[in-house]
Symmetry: C3
Subunit: 343 residues, 3 copies
């Protein structure tokens, strides 16, 4: 990339305070700025870096007023974070063209149909009776089983495993080593203490614009489908059990787990390392803090929870603070008992 | 599949209330029933679906008495859940024959011996001096290292990694991207603050009828063996540390971790996202709730625990409930102190 | 292996009590000792095994005094654990020579350069413009993307994914199915409730002597780099978010997660299943107990924490103990109130 500050300000609809003709050749974090780099300031926790950064230019909010002299040229915009994101996208589009074509050896069953402009990396595998759209990229060593459907523009990264009968929509990203459609964890206890595997005959349906993180697992349904609705974003190392449904635009951070048959609503936000128990419902727009354990259905929309078991986020925080004083509380009760018994 | 209700009732040893000659062509969840589908009702939480389902037939418990008129034909059996499981197995046996044969390119060392009727998928790899039984299926892109033993009828799914010296029994299932026999996490601290890797010379032994989930990791022993006894079922994304032993028929849900050198007894049930610390023993038939942390040995058999650190499950639940009232408790102590000091 | 007790004692600088000419052919755990095996005793929790073990020899601390007669020959050393580690290393060096050479089919782009004595397993993939050192081992089915740099003597195990632009130093070990450099979890919320992926243009830098566990994920930075400093040891199934930095010689146990933009200091020790929130700093030599949640920066060096949220480890333990008495505490408050109101 090579732009002037003026060009970037025009792209972002911003106004410049400083030298418009400076040349920018890279993006940087504000604390790692150098000559020729542009950065941004959104979180005021990082404001002190603005006064020392070596970046040539910094994107800031219109409302921001520096409290010390600033060396860098400033570009004022409505929202510095989304402006920087826009700039990232612009630069990204200028990156070298992505791979197209077929690397050998790769495996594709005769019965499978694939659309225009595919990329199929070396050692990728596509089984029988698949229906794969246009502009689909299947990276090296990825696996597509039998009877799989994949929509246009979807990317299956290296080592991802798309097991039999999975349906994936358009514009999805399945990251490296994710496993979609593996058998759900269903075992019937036998009288002699052993367990017999319950056949898992269902599948996984992933709608459009979904992102699935690296090493995340989404199990197939026993019967019917495990469903990930459009726009859902799952981080890395997440477990989604059989027959789960996740509503559209819900975002779940890394290492969380959703147990079997639970339905998560739309536009929920779930923090990392959280667990949601099986067979419950979570209403739309619910927010769950990180490391929480949700053990009951949430019926009212738009509420926030945390803790294990999870309850109202503010009450949970208050209880956590008192928890740290528990030994003192106990002592105070001891004192009170002594006093009252001595009366 | 295509059966009549009468045929299904005969298979399950049930009695029919309704039209015996209805044709059934698929299985469904009760809330997703449609003409030609059969479903089941076990958990009464879902009873209301029975009165509105479009399923042609529903399997219910003998003891169940509908409280409203039911449109669907009912099949009464002793246990509706296990009857449905039996039906699933029956349908599963009717699925198209599983793959047999060798897809190319695939890699197998000359020194390795493999039994009858193997399936070896494309890009699968089998190293030196392995001994592999009959009817073993090694899916595409799976990896078998050197000196590995695998019993009859075992399935190694796509992307699973069976590292050197691992021994796997008969009728096991190793799911996609699981890693068996990777080096244990052993590092000796050095005087300069660095760590040196301790050679991990042991292996992993997996007995018969074991199921290992997708993206689960089972580390090899430092010396001796990490042992997974017969009938153990491990869900996805579980960590099993070096020199751990898991007793027969124990079931562990997703994202749990067992630290090094711990022994888990037989027929234990461990909920998801639970951690068990290293170098402890857990007695047979212990039950541990989800998201618990077990920090001490459990010597008595058949007890239940939860919490972090884990203690008796009922006491733990009681403490959790009081925890939610902690701010109130503190206020009440404040009040008491004021009153007593003003006396 | 085949040594005499005398040879082993000489190697370890120890003194022998018993038969020096016994032949040792294998290493064992003390509870699994047999004729011809040598074991060690470090943790006195296992002392009772010393009096019953069938091992021919046992390495013990100089300071150790048996309280009962011992059948096995004893080798006394300064530190039995590190002596045993040294013996393991010695035996490990005697193992059959590791693989060198190229197995076919494997894929390497013309533009990539690779040093002397490589091992490249079958179905391994190396993309464009990589710079790979000498003595590097790339196991079967491993993936190296474009513009990746790998230092001398580094091992990339089977199924590991090294995504574009990653830099890895010398003497590193990346275990099976680890994913390094996958896109960070960055999505910008849109007014209509959907999310747009923020391009992740940064990379991952892994310095020398780092070990990364099986199925662990280290995300690339949005801009700049996610950095793993020299000597860091990460266990299995760990999540490292975008723009994280982990200081040198820090050790993190399995299933922990570090959220985006957090900096962990040097020589920290973090227990398993722990979460560290985003955008915070953790001082050098901090110790965090297993299953903790760190929600605030730690500014003072050398402290220990545990709990969720984490606070001083001893206070946390004390609060946990009182937590188990919470129902009783509440009852005692009820009693006190009754008494005082009846006065």
């Amino acid at each position: 990339m090579e732009f002037t500050v003026k060009q970037i300000a025009a792209l972002l609809g911003g106004t410049v305070d400083g030298n418009e003709s400076l040349k920018i050749s890279q993006l940087s974090k504000i604390e790692e700025g150098q000559e020729g780099s542009i950065s941004f300031l959104a979180n005021l926790k990082y404001e002190h870096y603005l006064y020392t950064t070596a970046a040539s230019a910094v994107i800031v909010n219109k409302s921001f007023e520096p409290r010390q002299p600033v060396q860098a040229t400033l570009i004022f915009v409505d929202n510095s974070y989304s402006a920087f994101t826009k700039l990232l996208e612009h630069v990204n589009r200028q990156q070298p063209v992505e791979k197209v074509g077929v690397e050998q050896p790769s495996f594709i069953a005769d019965s499978t149909r694939i659309g225009d402009r595919p990329y199929r990396g070396a050692f990728s595998y596509i089984g029988d009776n698949c229906l794969i759209g246009s502009n689909v990229k299947i990276y090296p060593q990825a696996y597509i089983g039998n009877n799989v459907t994949i929509g246009d523009n979807t990317i299956i990264h290296t080592g991802a495993r798309i097991i039999d009968n999975t349906v994936i929509g358009h514009n999805c990203v399945i990251k490296a080593n994710a496993v979609i459609g593996s058998d759900g964890f269903g075992f019937a206890p036998q009288p002699d203490g052993t367990y017999r595997a319950i056949p898992q005959l269902g599948n996984v349906i992933i709608e459009d614009n979904v992102s699935i993180g690296a090493n995340t697992t989404v199990d197939c349904a026993t019967v019917g489908s495990t469903i990930i609705r459009q726009g859902v974003k799952l981080d890395n190392l997440i477990q989604v059990g059989h027959n789960v449904e996740i509503g559209k635009n819900t975002v779940i951070a890394a290492q969380s787990g959703i147990a079997g048959s639970t339905k998560i609503g739309e536009n929920c936000v779930i923090g990392g390392q959280t667990g949601v128990t099986g067979h419950i419902w979570i209403a739309n727009r619910t927010k769950i803090g990180g490391r929480s354990g949700v053990t009951k259905s949430v019926k009212e929309e738009g509420l926030s929870f945390s803790g294990m078991p999870a309850f109202d986020v503010k009450d949970s925080l208050r209880s956590s603070i008192v928890f740290q004083r528990l030994p003192t509380l106990e002592k105070r009760i001891n004192e009170l008992e002594k006093k009252i018994n001595n009366q």
